[in-house]
């Protein structure tokens, strides 16, 4: 299950969607809006995406993950729009027969999402400035 949404993420529903009698392990990752980054204070984040490609890339990640680990069920949901401190920006859930597989697959999934899926966040710093986050690119 893959979803881009402007609404708060219901991670319990996401987690329920991957539970299975064939799996002994479920790993859920939540990314949440953190206040402090490198000594600077965030008050909010804005997320945008390239919708068709973001969905295609997330599906590609789920497919590729299954070639690497014996994944039973998996789901990703990413929120878009304006997020306040503590809000959940992304939830990814994976079920596998055994826990080592679930931890490895879950970590790979979120690592790859962060480099492949065309979603961008804009920092709203406490000094009133805003800044798109583009890893590797010097600040504007």
């Amino acid at each position: 299950m893959i979803r881009l949404t402007n609404d708060p993420i219901d991670y319990a529903a996401l987690t329920e969607s991957v539970r299975s009698n064939q799996s002994g392990a479920v790993v859920l990752f939540l990314g949440t809006v953190r206040e402090m980054t490198g000594g600077r204070q965030t008050v909010a984040l804005d997320y945008e995406c390239y919708p068709a490609m973001a969905e295609a890339k997330m599906q590609e990640l789920l497919d590729e993950m299954r070639t690497r680990w014996p994944v039973d069920k998996a789901a990703i949901e990413h929120r878009l729009g304006h997020l306040e401190l503590g809000d959940i920006s992304v939830a990814a859930a994976v079920s596998c027969p055994h826990r080592v597989q679930a931890f490895e697959a879950g970590r790979w999934l979120i690592d790859e999402l962060k480099v492949r899926v065309p979603i961008w966040k804009k920092e709203n710093w406490s000094d009133g400035t805003t800044e798109w986050v583009h890893p590797g690119v010097p600040p504007a």
């Binding site: 390239y50 962060k114 065309p118 979603i119 966040k121 583009h134």
Partner: protein, 81 residues
Amino acid sequence: MKIAVKLFARARDLAGTESMTVDIPAEGTVASLRGAMREVCPALAPLTPHLFVAINAQYAGDTVTIRPSDEVACFPPVSGG
């Protein structure tokens, strides 16, 4: 041929538009698209070395040929999650 290029995040902000149209030769490549974008929109210069191009929702290297029906997008490094 005229190609509409979707722009996102800081690329869109610098260009001041969600979609720019550039003219490239028939059978033009991603490299020629990049060149045309630089000419049409000098404001993108600070991002130029960092921009990704996607053709039909797939990352595309400089040698990929663009067809008139392709959906083309251009954006800086992603930061979801």
